[in-house]
Amino acid sequence: MSISARIVKRFRGFALDVDFESESKALGILGASGSGKTLILKSIAGLVTPDEGRIAIGERVIYDSAAHVDVKPQRRGVGYFFQSYALFPHMTVQENIGIAVNPADDDDRSQSEIVSCLTERYQLAGLEHRYPANLSGGQQQRVALARIFASRPEAVLLDEPFSALDSYLRGNMQDELLRAMEDYQGQFILVTHSCDEAALICDTIITISGGKITSRGGVDKAFDVCGGCRALGKGSTRPSSEANDCFMRP
């Protein structure tokens, strides 16, 4: 399966114009803030309508300006991990996960079975009746992940999933995500401004700047673009100052 997207969206003083196709399990979109990376994710999820373009998941076209196709976000089968998790504050952990389970597509297992399986899987057992405000940051992330997978998306979009975390939680979350990716069939797109994260999670990386794609390819290639990042694994090139983020590995 592949995700293909051509997205054009113009604002005053900024235009997003990208075109990419990804077959890989995890695509990283790397760029500074204001480069338009979140806009790409929101367009794919259907939370923002592009001015023109075409977005398809596999054979399924979810947006096509020429053919006037604009599938509702509900029917796109795209999970979205918000930087702030966006857990429903008035619902318990159980309710947050349960509301994402669509009973119609589960004949064999009941909603509560799916919820308890997911709470087990994301180490939330015992927390089912807590409200998000009474959870730690790490627990909130796991609820957010569980809720996304409860809705059975075909693709999962992650918007800077680690940026709000301290380094300890960041490590946990990265492990969590890698584990989720192992047992999940769909594709992932990760938006980040950190080379490190992109390298750890993704197998293909697109870099964007000013709303345009500036490079695409495997992890090595993106690291070239980051400027001297090869030093991480291979040679001894001195890092350029712009690429500091890539060297903040503990």
Partner: protein, 230 residues
């Protein structure tokens, strides 16, 4: 002291809050969904008008609409419904006058719900209808409750529009505010006092309830954190 005004007032306020709550919340939701700024502002202004106009103006307009010799009044008369100077008129007056309080509170409550929750709900596949009932309304609940209580209390105290469209008929349309007026005009100060005390007490209880409920809700959601005090 007659108890009829107390009963009529409570009955009027109770029936009218049901109508005001439903219509106010619904219209606030619809207005929030209007994309075009100019259209939204215009409708918003019209719906807020009864709050700032003297109630007599609203009462005059209601008479103009429901009067027995006006088209709508005649039409209703033909099916045997006479609104003006009937108990129903006290409800209509209370609804019109208290409506903006409900509407504006509901609108403010909807606007302060972070859109990210609605976006999250869409991406996990909730229908728009379920989003309204499971996400938007519960998250706006404190604001809706406060609007409802404000509107109820305002309806309880409605005077001007009620006097114009419902009159001051003892045992039928004489609510507490009108009874106070009649008592004062008739020199029965003692009687006026009693209604005044009852009105203050009932209004206080509801407004107190409002603070109590909204405080408790935030405490539950924010794990022991206290309501910020300035």
């Amino acid at each position: 002291m007659e108890w009829a005004p107390v009963i009529i007032s409570l009955k009027t306020a109770s029936v009218s809050i049901l109508i005001t709550f439903a219509i106010g919340t619904w219209l606030a939701y619809l207005v929030c969904r209007i994309r075009k700024d100019s259209v939204r502002s215009t409708i918003d202004a019209i719906l807020t008008l009864p709050l700032v106009l003297p109630p007599t103006v609203a009462g005059f307009l209601l008479l103009y609409i429901f009067g027995s010799y006006r088209p709508l009044g005649e039409l209703l008369g033909e099916i045997g419904v006479r609104i003006v100077f009937n108990w129903q008129a006290t409800v209509i007056a209370a609804v019109v006058i208290s409506f903006p309080l409900m509407y504006r509170s509901a609108k403010a409550a909807f606007v302060q719900v972070d859109p990210i929750f609605m976006q999250a709900a869409r991406t996990i596949g909730l229908s728009e209808r379920r989003i309204v009932f499971r996400i938007l309304l519960p998250l706006a609940a404190p604001g809706l409750a406060s609007g409802g209580i404000l509107a109820f209390s305002r309806g309880l105290g409605e005077f001007g529009a009620t006097a114009l469209i419902a009159g001051n008929i003892p045992g039928v349309t004489r609510t507490m505010p009108l009874a106070i007026y009649s008592a004062v005009v008739g020199g029965r100060t003692e009687e006026a006092y009693r209604y005044v005390v009852i009105l203050i007490l009932v209004s206080f209880i509801f407004v107190w309830l409002l603070s109590f409920l909204t405080d408790r809700r935030t405490t539950r959601q924010r794990s022991g954190e206290r309501t910020p005090r300035l």
